[in-house]
């Protein structure tokens, strides 16, 4: 059995106040380009930097104070700060690439297509029955597939190359655009899990009747290429898709969550009827 891929490490611990500050006069004698280079080098190494009154208190390092800047290469400054970070036993930054979906709740209609579609448990439902991104670290880097199946263009990946998935303004044509809205039904012939199961069944049948392995492989390749092209799913994500059993289990849990949500919603409506109309409903 193929081992399941472990989730990515997840975001680093919050920075808290582990920032670097610029002391008053800390950049004296350093030209604008030199100042910018030092800041860029620190940021690229994962160290936040601030300059404001009182920021030096509790700071990890103070540029122009305990860490010199004048006549030093940006790399030397970064080394000094990294040493201080290590000495403070602070977590090293940059262990995780922050790629995950962000929901635009102004657009989201809570249709749960993303929850049903994502095979990696990134989505969940919160206590109010609302779709939420729960496991950001389980999202596959560079895979924007769930945003492609969202009928309302409500899922953003801020680091995606193109709009509106990157957060750019949503235009009417984006919603209608074939490149944006992928109808799962037309892509896979109905419910995605049933379709995958059906494909698996058909493949087994072909094996048993024709014993033609190459045909089955061609079918799989064709299906994967279709997903890759239409949803912009990276090859490495397709290669790490869960097993058929995992997909079925995932579908079962997704359906249970949806049914629970519907039941809760019905129960709330029944309760409202029992309680009688509110003053608002009487239009007082």
């Amino acid at each position: 059995m193929k081992p399941r891929e472990a989730a990515r490490p997840g975001p680093s611990a919050p920075f808290g106040e582990l920032h670097v500050t610029v002391e008053p006069g800390g950049f004296d004698g350093v030209d604008a380009a030199g100042r910018g280079a030092v800041l860029a080098a620190l940021l690229e190494a994962g160290h936040p930097v601030s300059r404001k009154a009182g920021a030096g208190e509790g700071a990890l390092a103070r540029l122009g104070g305990d860490v010199g800047v004048l006549d030093r290469a940006p790399e030397q400054v970064v080394e000094d700060v990294a040493a201080r970070r290590e000495a403070a036993a602070a977590p090293a930054p940059g262990a995780w690439t922050p790629w995950f979906p962000v929901i635009d709740y102004d657009r989201c209609t809570n249709c749960m297509q993303c929850l049903s579609f994502c095979l990696f448990d990134v989505y969940s439902v919160d206590g109010d029955g609302r779709i939420t991104v729960q496991n950001q670290e389980k999202c596959k880097t560079s895979c924007p597939a769930c945003s492609r199946v969202c009928p309302e263009v409500a899922i953003l990946f801020p680091k995606y190359k193109k709009g509106p998935i990157n957060g750019d303004e949503v235009k009417a044509e984006d919603i209608a655009s074939e490149s944006m809205k992928v109808d799962i039904s037309s892509l896979l012939g109905g419910d995605i899990y049933s379709a995958l199961k059906e494909r698996s069944g058909s493949a087994k049948q072909r094996f048993s009747t024709e014993r033609d392995e190459s045909k089955a492989l061609l079918e799989r390749k064709r299906c994967l290429k279709e997903l890759k092209d239409k949803l912009d799913i990276p090859s490495e994500v397709l290669m790490s898709l869960p097993s058929a059993g995992d997909i079925e289990e995932r579908a079962r849990r997704a359906r249970a969550k949806q049914e629970e949500r519907i039941a809760r919603s019905r129960s709330a409506q029944d309760q409202k009827k029992t309680d009688g109309p509110s003053t608002q409903e009487w239009d007082i």
Binding site: G10, P11, S12, A13, P14, F15, G16, H19, V22, P24, G25, G26, F27, D28, A32, A33, R35, G36, V38, L39, A40, L43, E44, G46, H47, P48, V49, S50, R51, K52, A53, G64, P93, G94, W96, T97, P98, W99, F100, V102, I103, D104, Y105, V133, Q136, E137, L156, P158, K159, Y160, K161, G163, N166, G167, D168, E169
Partner: protein
Amino acid sequence: MSRRIVHCHCVYSKVVPADVKAAVLERLAGSAADFEAVPDLCEMSAGKDPALARFAGDGEVEIVACFPRAVRWLFHSAGHDLAAEASIHNMRSSTADEVCGALGLPDGESAS
């Protein structure tokens, strides 16, 4: 309440043009303005970094990052909604001059 500039360097991807973010950072460093420069707002959002609450709570915060819709929902995702009056400057679609102009950072100002 004083103005606060938050600059996101978006270090984990190349979607923000390197020349734009470098030029903005340089002019910010050369100005007298208070600022907080962070490696990556997405990372902070995922980690629900408490510093985001501080940024969101500032009356006059100006965020220099990417698309406003993305930035607003990143803050929401971390549990800290940005105030409606917060300004967001987009380094993906604007030039460094446009961003610095909107921030009121004079070209070549020198301070420390």
